[in-house]
Amino acid sequence: MNSEVNVTEKDSDKTIVELKHVEKYYGELHALKDINLQVKKGEVVVLIGPSGSGKSTLCRTINRLESINSGEILIEGKKLPEGGAELAGLRAEIGMVFQSFNLFAHKSILDNVCMGPVDVLHRPKEEVKKEAMELLKRVGVDSQAQKMPAQLSGGQQQRAAIARSLAMHPKVMLFDEPTSALDPEMIQEVLDVMIELANEGMTMIVVTHEMNFARRVADRVVFMADGAIVEENTPEEFFTAPKSERAKEFLESINRH
């Protein structure tokens, strides 16, 4: 699958997320080095790279869970606010799925999905509940709606967390290693939900170690090492003929086991 074909299929050139010369330091550590990245509407961009390469940090800067030291992050052309109600309002439009699910432990699965629309967007509860049930059905955990998060398996929790994000009708969804904390037999059920989302045209930025997923779903693979973007390519080319030495080494180290 060619990425350009994909973009025209999804018929948009609208840039949703843009990073310009983003730099971030953790004390002495130069965590992000001159990051430039554009994500268009409907695109699925997969960030891969060795651990500590900055891919999670990069993902988390996009809704400012991590601040940056310099550079610019634009969401639909508008600069990401630094704080306050403006930032909260923008975060409401960006979905985020975490490695450790992070469902609210004191609320049922259904309430978890309803909370954003009701408490942030102030939509009527009954209407939201109906939609939440539909979303839970879509990710296949509707039968668990009344249970508490801890009563669900990891895979079910992660699918519920995806539904919670979807309930906000996000413009873009960030996935920060969504399957890394899952038992192997549960990874596929979460990936299936993500694949479905991608096919429906959701704009997605995904940090993952699931190379098959990247190969199958990504429009573009962004390879990072030591805080910098080393290579950006179509999945086909990246996995068969990587340009950079670092990417070659990385792919070899994965294929070894």
């Binding site: 309002g89 975490f98 992070n102 432990a105 408490d119 009563q151 967390a161």
Partner: protein, 219 residues
């Protein structure tokens, strides 16, 4: 004096004293919860001066002896033209100190929630206030039911400070010292009040563990 002699002579006063102790305890604890929650929100809020104020409050009132605070309230406040009744002085002391402990218990409850849920709340676009009301405080309170139960008992015991000022009607400890200045009540007069303290503590403890089982978050 024997127990029956004490009861026949002072029985009514004991009941009155128990009710006074209960009243002081209930008012102090309710006040401590409200102040404790406010102080805790200050301590985790994004505004630095408020955070410093909250920490300072806890450091001061966690570390001041109750009797010293009461003396300050009774003797020093009038210098600032603030004149409280003895009852109000006792109530202030028995509220301010437990409020500091209340905040400490809530803070450890907040620690137990974990950064992940906080980040999830922020990612959904919750403001600080919404996140506090909907995610943080409800869970912190659930996590701290048992320590709060202990705090309620400790607050009750702290109300014995009331014995240090002239109050009418008296609290349980105040009554014991009243009896012993008039009669030879001896250890027996204290025994009756301590049974009342212990009985109350046992009831509080039972209710506390009942509530804890009800609201505990399955993890």
């Amino acid at each position: 004096m024997t127990i029956s002699e004490l009861l026949s002579q002072y029985g009514e006063k004991y009941i009155q004293a128990l009710l006074t102790t209960w009243q002081l305890t209930a008012l102090s604890f309710a006040g401590a919860l409200v102040i404790g929650i406010i102080i805790t929100v200050m301590r985790v809020c994004p505004i630095k001066p408020l955070r410093i104020f909250g920490d300072l409050y806890v450091q001061i009132f966690r570390n001041i002896p109750g009797a010293s605070l009461l003396i300050v309230l009774v003797y020093a406040l009038p210098n600032l033209n603030i004149i409280l009744s003895y009852y109000q002085c006792v109530l202030t002391a028995t509220t301010m100190i437990p409020a500091a402990f209340c905040s400490e218990y809530l803070m450890s409850g907040i620690d137990a929630i974990g950064i992940g849920q906080i980040e999830a709340a922020r990612s959904l676009g919750m403001t600080f206030g919404t996140m506090m009301r909907k995610v943080v405080i409800p869970q912190a309170v659930r996590f701290s039911v048992l320590p709060m139960t202990n705090l309620l008992i400790a607050t009750m015991l702290t109300t014995s400070l009331a014995s240090q000022v002239p109050l009418n009607p008296k609290d349980l400890t105040g009554l014991v010292s009243y009896i012993n200045t008039r009669d030879v009540g001896g250890v027996t007069s204290f025994l009756i009040s301590s049974i009342m303290y212990c009985g109350t503590a046992v009831i509080i403890g039972q209710i506390g563990s009942f509530i804890d089982k009800k609201v505990r978050i399955i993890r």
